[in-house]
Symmetry: C2
Subunit: 346 residues, 2 copies
DNA sequence: CTGTTAGCGCTTTCAA
DNA sequence: TTGAAAGCGCTAACAG
């Protein structure tokens, strides 16, 4: 590969200053005569010029790149978010660096640091960290961070959240309305705001209905550390939870899972164990991922507007980056019950 | 935000030259006295120094970033690939720019151009372009491009491919072995190598078995241009294909779908239409995505090692970038039949 | 309208 | 083992 051609080469050929070349080739609106414009452009084409954006970036201190940090792209919940983010980024001529944190706080921190060093001006993150002001530390260093999905309590930072409590509440209530009283929540460990709030909503709904069921909470027992987190992970959790359920002395008739993937695995295993859904056990999932209606029976679930969350967060990011007045610093998206066929009416 | 601190600031504080500071802070193995090393490091910490990688990148002409271009991240087939790519990239301290081409050739071209300008040294791409030497043009400009999944005929370029023909062949043969004779292929348009080869294998298998069925090929009729390509897209294709199937004068008893998502949509719609799988119609999918075994019945499918494809391609990329001798320029991954419960034995 | 010039922050010869 | 200095490719203030 030969030496690459720069604006200097073009300047020489056309016999103008590099400044003029820069002005036309960078699409600045600085006045340049039509004559020179034409010449410079044709010379650029002639020489097969490819601008080196690193030069511009160093000068303007703008990398035209944003970052997104999520647990795992192979989880369809997050890939929907990323799709939305990338769409808005592209509309703004930005590109996105994808970081899978694999639920690892140290990795999250490392990614954030790298974003800082690469002069990424904005990052969208669904953080698993419980550390107080964890994200604030980074936004203080001059990077705009938008937290999504996982509510950051009392942290002064831009947030796009989702009302998990209400979602859990609605789901539990739906069970109650359908006549269920033995209602359980099956979940991965409550190690993050989303699940905690979901469970609270669930519990509150049961309390309000004066329903008490001793085994109303079932958590995955073995914590499987997986460096290679993929969608099977949650699905397998669901399968294991189904097996745990079998060992209960008194079995619930209705089960809310912490997400659709878990619900799907749960139903899958139940089928294998000869337990019918919804005849024997009713199930509600959470998130309404695309796949939630391909199970048999189609899954009743609580909708989460993930794609929109991706778009909103990225739009907000650009508003901030463009110095627009952003007076709303937190948005809370709303749940919606999607009734399909996995809940039996008693 | 105040002016950021640079190695110059540190140099002043410690009273050494910026060169020395650079040498210790960039982890070069250049000899620097332990004394200065310590002082410089502590000063860096003191001043809360964050290196600006743009400076280094411009100088060394290495952006420590690779790109991946795929149709859509919301398709679980591609998100598995991306997961593998990101894993290897991270192991090499690189990061990955994610580009969704939405099956749009112009977008692909645009992304490739941007990669070039951003001085990305390597890109992995599942290209939908049929243009001859499309990728070669870019690799000639000094970027290492690795083509994955879509075989590039006669193009001198690194490729990680998959034997779609054999996969199609195996699937069709399985139907034959199970006693089927009315066998059909349902698919989105054959606009790319993967589907074309898959269909060829399918057809060849039937020919060898001297099976001839007039409606053995069913293609999605309305081409739905979607700027917002998500996993529902393929799923909906499957649903529509199921409806098209109903209108056939003579219905096949066995159907191979061009991918699992399509198969899943196909089965879903069949269920709604009161047609039982596999009792009335047997179905084989393709790719073996995580979700292919959550359908009812669990889908028999042809495995595609997508995650490994992502890892292999990225490993190959780094071999090339590191100047290692890469004498194998094409790898072809092999299909494997995964028998579950969606095929009836006649 | 056009050119001169001084960097952006960093690395890397080369000389000491 | 350290420092001086040039320069990666580009932009932008300033002067003309």
């Amino acid at each position: 590969m030969r030496k690459s051609v720069t604006i200097l080469d073009i300047a020489k050929v056309v016999n103008v200053s590099p400044a003029t070349v820069s002005r036309v080739l960078s699409n600045s609106n600085y006045p340049v005569s039509a004559e020179l414009r034409r010449k410079i452009k044709s010379a650029a084409k002639e020489l097969n010029y490819t601008p080196n954006l690193l030069g511009r970036q160093l000068k303007t201190n703008n990398s035209m790149t944003i970052g997104i940090i999520i647990p795992s792209i192979s989880n369809p919940f997050y890939s929907s978010i990323v799709l939305g983010v990338e769409e808005i980024a592209r509309a703004n001529s930005y590109q996105v660096l994808l970081c899978n944190s694999h639920q690892n706080v140290n990795l999250e921190k490392q990614f954030l640091q790298t974003m800082l060093e690469k002069q990424v001006k904005g990052v969208i993150i669904s953080s698993i960290s419980a550390e107080k002001n964890f994200l604030r530390q980074f936004s203080d260093k001059g990077i705009c961070v938008i937290s999504i999905d996982q509510h950051r309590e009392g942290e002064d930072i831009y947030q796009i959240n989702y009302d998990y409590r209400k979602g859990g509440f609605m789901a539990a209530n739906h069970f109650v309305e359908c006549g269920h009283t033995k209602i359980a929540f099956v979940t991965a460990p409550l190690d993050r705001p989303s699940r905690i709030h979901m469970f609270r909503g669930f519990r509150d709904a049961l309390r309000e209905s004066r329903i008490l069921f001793k085994d109303c909470y079932l958590q995955i027992s073995e914590t499987q550390e997986s460096t290679n987190y993929n969608s099977n992970f949650e699905f397998d959790n669901g399968k294991r939870l189904a097996r745990q359920l079998m060992e209960l002395s008194e079995r619930p008739t209705a089960v809310l899972a912490c997400n659709d993937l878990t619900a799907l695995g749960f139903i899958y295993e139940l089928n294998l164990l000869g337990i019918r859904v919804p005849d024997d056990v009713s199930v509600i999932g959470f998130d309404n991922i695309d796949f939630s209606n391909i199970s048999m029976p189609p899954l009743t679930t609580v909708d989460h507007p993930k794609y929109e969350m991706g778009k909103f967060s990225c739009s907000m990011l650009f508003q901030v980056l463009n110095g627009e007045n952003v007076n709303v610093t937190e948005i809370v998206l709303q749940p919606k019950l999607v009734i399909r066929s996995s809940v039996r009416v008693l």
